[in-house]
């Protein structure tokens, strides 16, 4: 039995991580507490984004605790594919330290914002826990 687990761990290690995703409560969802959909914000001025999460808890990356995950803020992009780690780049900001708000600054123009929870391994839950995608204007 022990060997089995050891091999599983090794397998996970070499295969690029566990490919399964974590279950989320069916009624869990994220929302952006601020800014609001359609909000117009001043350029050259950082603004705060509030991460709302209902029927679920926050845990930092690497922490496997039931019904938790950590926030990711998607900027000007679509939802990434299910079952894989959320990319980490300018359009996909990770909050793996358990943050529940952030300050960002965006160039003038229209932008979309959306929240997506990731599990201990940054993989979206099943079903995915996301917010509505909102559009803001910076000018």
């Amino acid at each position: 039995m022990r060997t089995l687990f050891a091999s599983l761990a090794l397998l996970a290690l070499f295969a690029g991580g566990p490919a399964h995703s974590t279950d989320a409560p069916a009624n869990a969802y994220c929302y952006i507490g601020w800014p609001n959909d359609g909000q117009v914000l001043a350029a050259n001025k950082p603004f705060r984004v509030w991460f709302g999460l209902r029927h679920m808890g926050v845990a930092p990356k690497g922490v496997a605790f039931a019904n938790t995950g950590h926030h990711h803020l998607l900027i000007d992009t679509e939802l990434p594919p299910a079952g894989q780690a959320i990319p980490s780049d300018r359009n996909h900001l990770h909050y793996g330290a358990g943050e529940t708000e952030t300050m960002i600054e965006l160039p003038p123009g229209r932008h979309t914002l959306q929240l997506l929870m990731g599990d201990a391994d940054h993989i979206p839950h099943t079903p995915p826990v996301t917010s509505k995608k909102i559009t803001i204007t910076v000018k």
């Binding site: 599983l8 808890g57 845990a59 930092p60 690497g62 605790f65």
Partner: protein
């Protein structure tokens, strides 16, 4: 059995990401240090909010720090406690767990609360993995709301 699976998974994750292991053992009682600029506050309700009906969501805000469930040893994290109609507990021991001291050890960032008509005070106090306030303690202003 489940432990072993979780451990192997954790181990795999840790080895893979090359990060410090996450220890989730219930170790005793040196309060975790809190960042000097960390701040816990009410996103809603506000000081003086009047609530009709008595059932409402409290939204718990945390700045310059992260949320982690109880038992999780990650630096600069903690979990929320909502103090209702009570003063601060002793700050060098675990926060009591009763009707006046609600724990959110699953990492919740909002709470559904129901209170009888009247004036009530609310205050947030962050606890570390062992439910002990940080050093220095991270607490919100105490606000007063009215339910009718």
């Amino acid at each position: 059995m489940r432990h072993t699976i979780v451990l192997s998974a954790l181990l795999a994750a840790v080895l893979q990401s090359g990060e410090a292991p996450v220890v989730s053992a219930a170790e005793p009682a040196v309060p975790a240090p809190g960042p000097a600029n960390a701040q816990v506050y009410f996103i809603w309700p506000y000081e003086g909010t009047v609530i009709t009906g008595g059932k409402f969501w409290v939204r718990m805000g945390l700045r310059n720090m992260g949320v982690a469930p109880k038992g999780t040893a990650v630096p600069n994290t903690g979990h929320h406690h909502l103090l209702i109609d009570t003063g601060l507990p002793p700050l060098n021991e675990p926060i009591p767990n009763d009707r006046n001291n609600l724990h959110f050890g699953a990492g919740e960032t909002e709470a559904r609360v129901e209170l009888p008509p009247g004036m009530h005070t609310l205050q947030l106090l962050l606890g570390d993995m062992n439910h002990v306030p940080h050093k220095p303690p991270i607490m919100s202003k105490k606000i007063t709301i009215t339910v009718r």
